[in-house]
């Protein structure tokens, strides 16, 4: 064996003998515990917030251009599709925000127990739902 990638799949067992590492089964074999869903959702929402920055850019460009351009972007945001985008962006932003804090906690070594892990997953989902709804209620009342 001369390929470095293949060599990585070789390890020593407890008796010091070289063995091939076992391969874990692939994605579709698992049922989806909440921890798995919240893990991939971090990437999904990160990308979604990234796409949402296009709306922020349009908004700033319009505001820097003219009253008419600003009215157009405000009209879009107020249209059903615009509201849908903005709501999706709110949810994605809050999810990435709360789950990001969870990631930072892991980085300093906190929250790795199975129970904490599951609990924090649900915590992130609930916090996201509550703050998204709250922000939209406040926003709609103010409007």
């Amino acid at each position: 064996m001369t390929d470095v990638g293949d060599a990585l799949m070789i390890a020593r067992n407890t008796e010091g003998k070289l063995v091939r590492r076992p391969l874990s089964p692939h994605l579709q074999i698992y049922r989806w515990p909440v921890t798995m869903a919240t893990s991939i959702l971090h990437r999904v929402t990160g990308c979604a917030v990234g796409v949402g920055t296009l709306l922020m850019t349009w908004w700033l460009v319009a505001a820097a251009t003219s009253d008419d351009a600003f009215d157009r972007v405000q009209w879009f945001i107020g249209s059903p599709f615009g509201l849908f985008c903005l709501f999706g962006w709110t949810v994605a932003l809050f999810y990435h925000f709360f789950n990001g804090i969870r990631h930072l906690a892991w980085d300093i070594g906190l929250g790795f127990e199975q129970q904490e892990y599951t609990l924090a997953s649900w915590g992130v989902i609930i916090a996201t739902a509550v703050s998204s709804v709250l922000v939209w209620i406040i926003g709609l009342v103010a409007w």
């Binding site: 064996m1 001369t2 470095v4 990638g5 060599a7 990585l8 070789i10 390890a11 003998k17 070289l18 063995v19 091939r20 990437r43 990160g46 990308c47 917030v49 990234g50 920055t53 296009l54 922020m56 850019t57 700033l60 460009v61 505001a63 820097a64 009253d67 600003f70 009215d71 405000q74 932003l93 925000f97 990001g100 804090i101 990631h103 930072l104 980085d107 922000v135 406040i138 926003g139 103010a142 409007w143």
Partner: protein, 131 residues
């Protein structure tokens, strides 16, 4: 049981593992992404609250808001941090899921370029509105 495998490479296990992550490098990338994440916590709260205060507000209200030096600086910080954090995050995703080297290179370059362009565009707009 298959025959005992052999390794003919004279390198330590760590040496063999080094550089084999999907991006081939990355502590700095990882660390900066975290620093920006921490910075984005207060900035995001400020941004959401500021927007909530100005739902449906006319154009002039937004110009007044960004004309305050504090709002302008915070907005510029938010823009810079967000787009840099985004370019690092998007690169991680592309590094992990795009396997063909040439497509990987191009997609990372395009996404990073787009982040830089959008960031500059937003910065220029904020300065134009506020100054």
């Amino acid at each position: 049981m298959a025959e005992t495998p052999e390794v003919d490479i004279l390198r330590t296990p760590l040496g063999r593992a080094r550089g084999l992550g999907s991006a081939h490098a990355g502590f700095h990338h990882w660390w900066i992404e975290r620093v920006e994440a921490v910075a984005l916590i207060p900035l995001t709260i400020w941004f959401v609250v500021s927007l909530l205060h100005r739902v449906g507000a006319p154009h002039q209200a937004m110009i007044d808001w960004l004309s305050s030096p504090v709002s302008m600086v915070l907005m510029l910080l938010l823009i810079g941090t967000t787009f840099h954090h985004l370019s690092l995050g998007a690169q991680t995703v592309l590094d992990d899921y795009v396997h063909q080297p040439l497509i990987k290179l191009w997609s990372v370059l395009i996404v990073k370029g787009a982040c830089a362009v959008l960031a500059l565009l937003c910065i220029v707009c904020v300065l134009k509105i506020g100054l």
